[in-house]
C-alpha cells in the first residue's frame, strides 16, 4: 500500500488517542484546555485535497466528540478549520513558495512561520469551539480568557511535539 495513505491513518490514531486519553484530562487553572488533535489536520501533506481534508477533519472531530460526549461540536469546528486551511496556507505563502515542502512542519518552514500558522488555526478553532459550545453570551468574557489560555497551551504542546517528533524529517 501507498505510504501516503498509511502515514495519515497512523497519525490520525496517534493524535486521537493522545487527545482522548491523555490531553482530555489536562485543564490548567480550570480554564486552559489542550486540544492537540488539531495538529493532525494542521500537519497533513500540502497536496491533500480539500475533499480529503473535510472528510478527515469530520472523522477526527466526531471521534473526539464521542469521548467528550459533545455530539458534533468538535466535528463542526474541525470541518470549518479544514475548509479554511488551503486559503490560510495560500495567505501565509513564504516568498520562496512551498517548493520541496511536503507538510507544513516547523523544521521545513521555520519557527516563526509555524507559530503564526498554528497560532491562527488554533485561535480560530478554539473561538469557534467555545462559540458553538457556549449557549450563554454572559459567559463570553470568561470564555474569552479560556480561548486565549487554551490557544497558548495547545500551541505550546504542538511546538514541543514538533521539536520532539518531526525534527529529522
Amino acid at each position: 500500500m501507498n505510504s501516503s495513505i498509511i502515514t495519515p491513518v497512523i497519525s490520525f490514531f496517534i493524535y486521537w488517542i493522545l487527545q482522548v486519553l491523555l490531553f482530555r484530562n489536562v485543564a490548567l487553572f480550570d480554564m486552559a484546555f489542550c486540544f492537540v488533535y488539531v495538529g493532525f489536520l494542521l500537519l497533513l501533506p500540502l497536496e491533500t485535497s480539500l475533499t480529503s481534508l473535510l472528510l478527515l477533519g469530520f472523522a477526527m472531530g466526531l471521534a473526539v466528540d464521542i469521548f467528550y460526549d459533545t455530539a458534533g461540536v468538535h466535528a463542526a469546528t474541525m470541518v470549518i478549520i479544514a475548509f479554511i486551511r488551503p486559503s490560510l496556507l495560500q495567505f501565509l505563502r513564504p516568498s520562496g513558495g512551498y517548493d520541496n515542502v511536503e507538510s507544513p512542519t516547523l523544521s521545513k518552514l521555520g519557527f516563526n512561520w509555524f507559530i503564526i500558522y498554528a497560532g491562527i488555526t488554533l485561535l480560530f478553532h478554539h473561538s469557534i469551539l467555545f462559540l458553538i459550545q457556549g449557549s450563554n453570551f454572559s459567559l463570553w468574557f470568561s470564555n474569552f480568557f479560556s480561548i486565549l489560555a487554551s490557544t497558548v497551551l495547545s500551541l505550546f504542546v504542538l511546538v514541543i511535539g514538533q521539536f520532539l517528533f518531526y525534527r529529522s524529517r
Partner: protein
C-alpha cells in the same frame, strides 16, 4: 444538464462542507436523539473499554479490588440499615398509636422522635439510610468532566448489571445526575452540571418547591430557580422534591449560599446554592433502582387512563 453537473463538480467541496456542517449541527441540536445512538457516546463498548483501561492505569491498581469490595459491602449495609429503620418506624408508629389516647398528638410526636433519634441519631449525616425503598448499584466513574457546560460521566456498569435509562445517580454526599445512555457494560450519566438538566427540588425546612438548574459557570455552585416564596434563608438545605421518582425523596442537593430578592424574572428570586457533591473527586457513585417505580408508574398510568 451538463452545465449543472459541471457546476456541482466545481462546487463539490463547498457542497460537501455544507453537508458535513449540516450533519454536525443536526447532532448538536438533536442531542437527546443522539444520545439514543449509544455507539456515538462514551457508553459504547469500544470507548468504555479504553476508558476503563486508562482508568485502570491511573488508579492505584493494588487498592482497586479492595475498594470495590468495600463499596459493595457498604451498599449492602446501607440498604439493610435503611430497611431496619423503616421497620422500626412502622413498629414505633403502631406502638405509639396503641399506647393510649391520653397523650396529646404533640407529645406522641416528640416521643416518637426521641425513640428514633435514640437509635439512629443523625439521619442527615447518614443520608443513604433514608433510601430504603431503593436498591443501590455501586459503579465506578471511568470518565468525568465538570468544566464544560454540558457535563457527562461514564460509569463501568451497564444494562447487564441492571442499569436502565433514566435512573438517578447519587453519592453518599449528594445527587450526581441521571442515566442517559446505556450499553451492555457501560453507561453515560447526565450530570447535574449540565445546563439543560433540571431537578425538582425543595427547601428542606419548609417544603417550598424549586428547581435546580446549573448555569454553566462554576462547578461548585448552582442556581435554584422558580422559587417565588420569600421564606428562604442563607444556609437552608436544598433536597430533592418528594414528587420525583428518580432520586430518593428529600435527598441532599446543596446549601443556599446567596439570595437576591430583586430579580429580573418578575416575582422569582435569584438563589445561588453550593452543591453538596464534590465533582472534582468523584470516583464511585451509586445508581439507584427504585423498586417501587414500575409499580408507581403502572398505577399512574391506570389513573391517567381512567
Amino acid at each position: 444538464m451538463k452545465e449543472l453537473i459541471n457546476f456541482l463538480y466545481r462546487f463539490r467541496n463547498f457542497l460537501l462542507f455544507l453537508l458535513l456542517e449540516g450533519v454536525c449541527f443536526w447532532l448538536i441540536i438533536n442531542h437527546n436523539t443522539y444520545q439514543r445512538i449509544v455507539v456515538l457516546t462514551s457508553a459504547s463498548s469500544v470507548v468504555g473499554t479504553s476508558l476503563d483501561m486508562q482508568n485502570w492505569i491511573t488508579t492505584r491498581w493494588n487498592l482497586k479490588d479492595e475498594n470495590e469490595r468495600l463499596l459493595e459491602e457498604n451498599a449492602k449495609l446501607h440498604s439493610l440499615l435503611a430497611s431496619q429503620i423503616r421497620k422500626n418506624q412502622v413498629n414505633d408508629t403502631l406502638a405509639f398509636d396503641k399506647i393510649d389516647s391520653s397523650y396529646s398528638q404533640k407529645e406522641k410526636d416528640s416521643l416518637r422522635f426521641l425513640s428514633l433519634s435514640g437509635k439512629f441519631i443523625d439521619l442527615d449525616s447518614m443520608q443513604l439510610l433514608s433510601v430504603s425503598e431503593y436498591q443501590l448499584i455501586p459503579a465506578k466513574v471511568i470518565k468525568h468532566s465538570y468544566l464544560l457546560e454540558r457535563n457527562f460521566l461514564t460509569i463501568n456498569k451497564g444494562s447487564k448489571q441492571g442499569i436502565k435509562k433514566g435512573m438517578g445517580v447519587i453519592t453518599d454526599s449528594g445527587i450526581v445526575g441521571k442515566v442517559e445512555a446505556v450499553s451492555n457494560n457501560y453507561a453515560t450519566i447526565r450530570s447535574i452540571l449540565h445546563i439543560d438538566y433540571q431537578v425538582a427540588s425543595q427547601i428542606k425546612r419548609n417544603g417550598v418547591n424549586a428547581t435546580t438548574q446549573w448555569d454553566g459557570t462554576d462547578y461548585r455552585n448552582s442556581n435554584l430557580l422558580y422559587t417565588s416564596a420569600k421564606d428562604i434563608k442563607v444556609g437552608d438545605t436544598v433536597v430533592t422534591s418528594v414528587e420525583n421518582n428518580f432520586y430518593p425523596k428529600e435527598f441532599l442537593v446543596g446549601y443556599i449560599e446567596d439570595v437576591k430578592f430583586t430579580s429580573a424574572k418578575g416575582n422569582f428570586n435569584e438563589v445561588r446554592m453550593r452543591l453538596a457533591t464534590d465533582f472534582t473527586t468523584l470516583s464511585y457513585v451509586y445508581v439507584i433502582e427504585n423498586q417501587y417505580k414500575s409499580e408507581i408508574d403502572s398505577l399512574e398510568e391506570i389513573t391517567i387512563e381512567k
